[in-house]
């Protein structure tokens, strides 16, 4: 705290000398009424997630996955940060045996059991 006071005293002196308007040292961006918003202050992963959601994207899988028909025209879209991802297909609701298979980029693949279409779509993580 003493350091901050010293810094403030020095800055003030210098600014007064050069005729610059003194801005509040440590509060540059704050709303009119004093409490910052997430837009101003969120950082790190929280910020990246918020910004992506604002653009309508969900790279961190926060929202429930979309429902797709699984047909050739409307395949299940599988986001992936690489070139392949494991898919587990519950062919019918309440099935206890899951059908696992690797989904590769390129043409849509079909589940070996029920035939639903799955398409890998490449996604970048925000950074």
């Amino acid at each position: 705290m003493a350091g901050r006071l010293l810094l403030r005293a020095c800055t003030r002196t210098l600014q007064l000398r050069s005729g610059v308007v003194a801005r509040p040292l440590h509060r540059a961006m704050v709303t009119e009424r004093g409490i910052p918003t997430d837009e101003e202050q969120a950082t790190g992963l929280e910020r990246r997630a918020l910004q992506a959601l604002k653009q309508g994207k969900d790279p961190y899988s926060i929202l429930k996955p979309q429902q797709y028909a699984g047909t050739k025209e409307d395949p299940h879209i599988v986001p992936c940060i690489g070139t392949k991802r494991i898919v587990g297909c519950l062919c019918e609701e309440d099935n206890t045996a899951i059908v696992w298979f690797w989904l590769h980029e390129g043409e849509a693949q079909r589940c070996p059991s029920c035939g639903s279409h799955y398409k890998l779509v490449h996604h970048e993580l925000p950074h």
């Binding site: 509060r27 009424r33 004093g34 409490i35 997430d38 929280e46 961190y60 899988s61 926060i62």
Partner: protein
């Protein structure tokens, strides 16, 4: 550089859970040695370690959340569940003491004179200091709600004032109860009345102290602009805990002070 593709927080290892567990062991065994051998070494050690753990662990959480941004929406949701479950467990803790009180008071034993309050006990007048001690938590419930709305609307000064007021009311309550304890005409050793009274109100008082400390610890980040109008979970948790403490007092007042007098 590998970034995680999920929104959860995989915490880094830290020593504070271990020091917390050790402090719990030292405090409980310290209490026992204090009761039996009248030495306070273990208890003192345990309390010091507990204070250190609390300071360091919560400092670490503030760093991870406010400064590093690990508390995404799913993480916050998990923290909310955690706080709610914790408060629920505390509710059941108090239910035990209310059970003990009603068990003994609804059908008073012949050794007590067959009546409640037992023969020889002069209960505290519920319409004197206890009534003031009811108005105080109710008022602090209002101030903490005022603080919450101020934070959500982005109004810093009213939030600071109302939060400070909440802390002051909490301290006032503790002071009044301490005075009542000192002046009470009966003690913990006065049969089942004294036992149920002091154990129930004593644990409640401890929770008031915890709640007041929690609110005080919220004041500090708030003055340093840590909270945003949308993301201020530490404050939410403190406010919930405070409401819980106030509601327990209401039940205590109605059961033990009023009905039980």
């Amino acid at each position: 550089m590998a970034h995680q593709a999920h929104a959860y927080h995989m915490v880094d290892p830290s020593p504070w859970p271990l020091t917390g567990a050790i402090s719990a062991l030292l405090m409980t065994s310290g209490l026992a040695t204090w009761f039996v051998y009248k030495t306070t070494t273990l208890l003192f050690l345990g309390t010091t370690l507990l204070l250190l753990t609390m300071f360091q662990w919560w400092r670490l959480i503030i760093r991870e959340s406010t400064f590093q941004g690990h508390h995404t929406t799913p993480v916050q949701k998990g923290l909310r569940y955690g706080m709610v479950l914790f408060i629920t467990s505390e509710v059941f803790f108090f239910i035990g003491f209310f059970w003990a009180f009603y068990h003994s008071s609804l059908a008073p034993a012949i050794e007590l004179g067959g009546l409640w309050p037992p023969t020889g006990i002069t209960p505290l007048d519920p319409f004197e200091v206890p009534l003031l001690n009811t108005a105080v938590p109710l008022a602090s419930g209002v101030t903490v709600t005022w603080a919450h709305h101020s934070i959500m609307e982005g109004a810093r000064k009213p939030a600071l004032q109302s939060l400070t007021l909440t802390v002051l009311l909490g301290l006032y309550f503790t002071a009044l109860q301490a005075m009542e304890y000192y002046e009470a005409p009966f003690t913990l050793a006065d049969g089942v009345y004294g036992c149920t009274f002091f154990v129930a109100t004593g644990f409640h008082g401890l929770h008031v102290i915890i709640g007041t400390t929690f609110s005080m610890v919220c004041l500090l980040p708030h003055t340093h602009y840590h909270f945003t109008s949308n993301h201020h979970f530490g404050f939410d948790a403190a406010a919930w805990y405070w409401h819980f403490v106030a509601v327990v007092w209401l039940f205590l007042y109605i059961s033990i002070y009023w009905w039980g007098s």
